[in-house]
């Protein structure tokens, strides 16, 4: 339980097999802690197979102030299956606890038992999981509830918070399920409360909620869904694909209540095509997919660019290339998001860095798509899509309902010109159903009237229009396109970052500062158009610039170097796992030392 500014910071890792209820236990734990007013960040890992066995890990970090990432070292490891847990005992920090089945069924050879792997500096707690479960529910099935009761007792956490979540969770099942689980919980709570405590301490108080704010816990994908609904999404067309499927599913359940329509299409090409069709007809329209789906959408996104049709595409990245590693995280679809179209097909690309950012970016994406008449790609990644954070929803809906520069802005003589060249390069857009605005949108290069044209000057002028109008997005109201954290002024090592990895970057930055390194970090949320000025200014301040990202060659690094013509230091990992704070920190130290030398 690392102390940060004297407040709580404890990370639990529950490890078991797919049948053990590991993920469910983690879910109850994080909801209970959030209910008590703590901040939570949590991420589960489960096997790619549909069913059967395989390692599940649920990691839940509980803090007083919202944390930025999970920690490499957990404070508590709970094993529901020692064979999966043993390789992870090493990740428990010193003075951290390891909780395991005290009376395993199978007698293991000396040395193979989990206790043989616990370091002297770690605190071992044997717990009769099976026995307590069986006594309470006459089945071993509630072992995952038993460990929760034990944790509550051990760390002095209010048991009622757990009982409430358990009751809510089994609401739709027979009453007996809740009762027996609660019995198991209570029995284990007693054991935990009364067991001889080693050195693990107990939890600090959660920070009191700010007045009027109610924190809630959601995943990145959940926040995207909320952002879509608050921004007035009209139509959503989607095709299932991990890790974006839950956006489709949640919207299917919720959007119809808000007057929107959701359709599962026959494929991703159809999904983006219908989205573009709906966008053309004036709807706020979106789709969601992952890398393979985005690849299929490349051609139709080009029509969105050429026809200047608003649309929003949420892309949750997973391990690639190709089908890759569908249940692992990665940041390797940036190239395709920015460059994956025929011709000069610039569009807006945004990447939030945390769950709260998902909400804001989703809503703002619709504003931008409409205002600049363009496709907007929002890049997520599995780690961000699926991880839980406590967030405080805004008191007031922060998104503008209608930013379309409509037919009423048309001021010209003669026929209505859909693609009139204007000062801000955005043309008045008539929507079907509006009289006097009839026109044909085409993927062919076209004149201001929208008629096909292949005159050289026209193509040059229209190419310029399509590019230049996007620059205004860099100053889009109430949106953070990039942001600097940490030390001001001359910096030893600056860290640039994007997407989910920025959490680890911030934690590394804090650690580096603690070691006396002048360190600063900048998150880049708008990846196209790139905030070149701000990045250049940041780089000017830094003696060395590090860019950690979860891909092999450094895709944002290429983008920034390409735009600014400047070198930077890359830190690339293609492992399918989130970046480690320690890896970043090691690199920061190395760069700081190189500077000192």
């Amino acid at each position: 339980m690392v102390d940060r500014n004297g407040s709580t910071d404890i990370q639990f890792a529950i490890i078991g097999s797919a049948g053990d209820g590991t993920i469910a236990a983690g879910d109850i734990l994080k909801r209970a802690m959030a209910g008590l007013g703590y901040k939570v960040i949590a991420f589960d890992i489960y096997p790619a197979e549909i069913r059967g066995f395989g390692k599940c890990i649920s990691r839940v970090r509980v803090t007083t102030e919202q944390a930025y990432s999970l920690k490499r070292h957990s404070d508590v490891l709970v094993s529901l299956d020692d064979s999966y847990a043993i390789p992870h005992v090493g990740e428990v920090c010193d003075y951290g606890a390891v909780i395991y089945e005290a009376s395993p069924i199978a007698r293991l050879p000396e040395g193979a038992h989990i206790t043989a792997h616990i370091r002297p500096t770690q605190l071992p707690y044997g717990l009769n999981q099976r026995e307590i479960s069986e006594r309470a529910t006459s089945a071993a099935r509630s072992r995952n509830i038993v460990i929760l009761g034990y944790l509550a007792g051990l760390y002095g956490i209010d048991p009622q918070a757990f009982r409430d979540v358990i009751a809510a969770k089994f609401e739709r099942k027979a009453a007996i399920v809740t009762t027996s689980n609660t019995t198991a919980f209570d029995a284990a709570y007693e054991v935990g409360r009364t067991v001889f405590k080693l050195d693990q301490g107990s939890l600090g108080e959660p920070a009191p909620a700010k007045s009027g704010e109610t924190a809630t816990m959601m995943t990145g994908n959940g926040a995207i869904v909320r952002g879509c609904i608050d921004a007035g999404l009209d139509t959503f067309f989607g095709y299932p694909i991990t890790p974006a499927t839950t956006i489709l599913e949640r919207l299917a359940a919720e959007l119809p209540r808000h007057g929107g329509r959701v359709l599962q299409t026959e494929d991703e090409i159809s999904a983006i095509s219908a989205t573009i069709g709906a966008g053309y007809a004036g709807a706020r329209a979106a789709t969601a997919t992952s890398g393979p789906g985005l690849a299929l959408m490349a051609e139709m996104l080009g029509l969105g660019v050429m026809g200047e049709i608003p649309s929003v595409v949420f892309v949750s990245q997973r391990g690639g290339p190709s089908t890759g590693m569908p249940t692992k995280t990665e940041q390797s679809d940036l190239n395709m998001a920015v460059f994956g179209g025929a011709g000069d097909a610039q569009r807006i690309v945004l990447a939030p860095t945390n769950v709260d950012g998902c909400y804001r970016t989703a809503g703002k994406a619709f504003e931008m798509a409409e205002k600049y008449q363009t496709p907007v790609i929002v890049l997520l990644d599995l780690y961000l899509s699926n991880r839980y954070e406590t967030v405080v929803p805004p008191a007031k809906n922060p998104f503008a309902p209608d930013l379309n520069k409509g037919l009423e802005a048309w001021r010209g003589d003669g026929d209505y010109q859909r693609y009139q060249q204007t000062e801000d390069h955005v043309s008045p857009r008539a929507l079907p159903g509006e009289d006097g605005g009839m026109h044909t949108v085409t993927g062919l290069e076209h004149s201001e009237l929208g008629k096909p044209s292949d005159l050289p000057e026209n193509h040059m002028a229209m190419s310029a229009k399509r590019h230049e109008k996007l620059k205004a997005a860099l100053t889009h109201p109430d949106f953070t396109i990039c942001k600097r954290f940490g030390d001001e002024g001359p910096i030893d090592v600056g860290i640039l970052g994007w997407g989910s990895t920025f959490g680890e970057i911030l934690e590394a930055m804090f650690a580096a500062q603690a070691e006396g390194i002048r360190c600063s970090a900048m998150k880049v949320v708008m990846l196209s158009p790139l905030p070149e000025e701000q990045i250049a200014a940041f780089m000017d301040d830094c003696d060395a610039v590090l860019l950690p990202e979860l891909n092999y060659e450094g895709q944002l690094a290429n983008l920034i170097s390409g735009a600014l013509g400047r070198p930077l230091t890359r830190l690339n990992r293609a492992t399918g796992a989130p970046m480690q704070v320690e890896e970043i920190l090691a690199e920061v130290r190395r760069l700081a030392r190189a500077k000192a030398a």
């Binding site: 139509t235 329509r261 299409t265 007809a281 379309n404 929507l431 993927g443």
Partner: protein, 304 residues
């Protein structure tokens, strides 16, 4: 069915109907099609049909793919959307889902429809999207200069099949019938009056209507799907054909030697829009809570 009528070209038409308002659905862009192309008849047919149905210009959206056929929206004075090769139907679906009030007409060539676009047709049909889909079948790729298409005859010699095509042609009518399209018909560019009637009927149908239009490409097919051949080969569907009998329709569709013109099949069933309405009810639709609704969306007021 009425007697064959020679195709009418816009230039002649212009002279013929000055001022009678018939052409108000046509844009001032003259079609860029080759003189004699069957597509002129289709354009005429759509004009007649829209006049007859009095669809407001502002409420009609013509969606197309890529090809000579797909140039069609440029020649109309309605809203138009010239999309990508093969994507006609999903884009048209998006338009309709966004705004039920629009009359959405999707058009494309045989390649656009049954080659690159073939995967979308079953789904537009089974969902019963309330749009009209007209495929201008000339049995060849016109715009790319004469290659074989999915409806080309076996043995067709083209620049991409110089030693004869060895692919069996597809049977679009059987396919659409098997997909569960709720309205399936066939017309011929050489029979102008009948063609216009069929287009009007197709547009009037509530649900997904599919009209297959045999239409010669006078530039790239001088031997197979020509006016001369088709004039002789086409037949009327027998008068006693029951358009609610899908299997009987299949039988007629299978007789490709003598393509039968007319209404093959029609049924009334809930549309995709009806489905959304049902979902909204089941979900317990609230009034829109999003800012978008709270603030009142201008465009919504206007277009829906």
């Amino acid at each position: 069915m009425t007697e064959p009528l020679k195709p009418v070209y816009l230039e002649d038409k212009l002279k013929q109907v000055r001022g009678d308002g018939h052409l108000r659905y046509r844009s001032r862009s003259l079609p860029t099609w080759c003189p004699g192309c069957g597509y002129f008849s289709v354009a005429e047919g759509v004009t007649v049909a829209l006049n007859r149905l009095q669809v407001p210009l502002k409420d009609a959206v013509v969606v197309s793919g890529i090809g000579c056929a797909s140039r069609f929206p440029f020649f109309m004075d309605t809203y138009g959307l010239h999309t990508l090769h093969g994507r006609t139907l999903p884009v048209a679906t998006g338009v309709k889902v966004a705004n039920e009030a629009l009359t959405v007409i999707a058009v494309g060539g045989d390649g656009d429809a049954f080659a690159i676009g073939g995967g979308h047709i079953p789904h537009a049909a089974r969902r019963n999207v309330d749009i009209t889909y007209m495929v201008f079948d000339n049995g060849v790729y016109g715009l790319t200069k004469g290659q074989t298409s999915p409806t080309s005859v076996y043995g067709f010699v083209t620049p991409s099949t110089p030693y004869e095509s060895h692919d069996q042609p597809l049977n679009p009518l059987m396919m659409l019938l098997s997909y569960g399209a709720s309205w399936v018909g066939q017309a011929y560019a050489g029979h102008q009056h009948h063609l216009s009637d069929m287009i009007a009927e197709a547009i009037a149908h509530r649900g997904f209507s599919y009209l297959h239009i045999l239409s010669p490409c006078v530039t790239f097919d001088k031997t197979e799907m020509t006016y001369a051949n088709l004039d002789i080969r086409v037949r009327d569907l027998p008068a006693d054909h029951d358009p609610s009998d899908r299997l009987a329709a299949m039988k007629h569709a299978a007789a490709t030697g003598h393509p039968a013109l007319g209404l093959y099949f029609r049924e009334e069933r809930p549309t995709l829009g009806d489905g959304f309405a049902d979902v909204a009810t089941r979900a317990g639709r609230k009034t829109k809570t999003g800012a978008a609704r709270a603030g009142g969306k201008k465009k919504t007021a206007k277009s829906k």
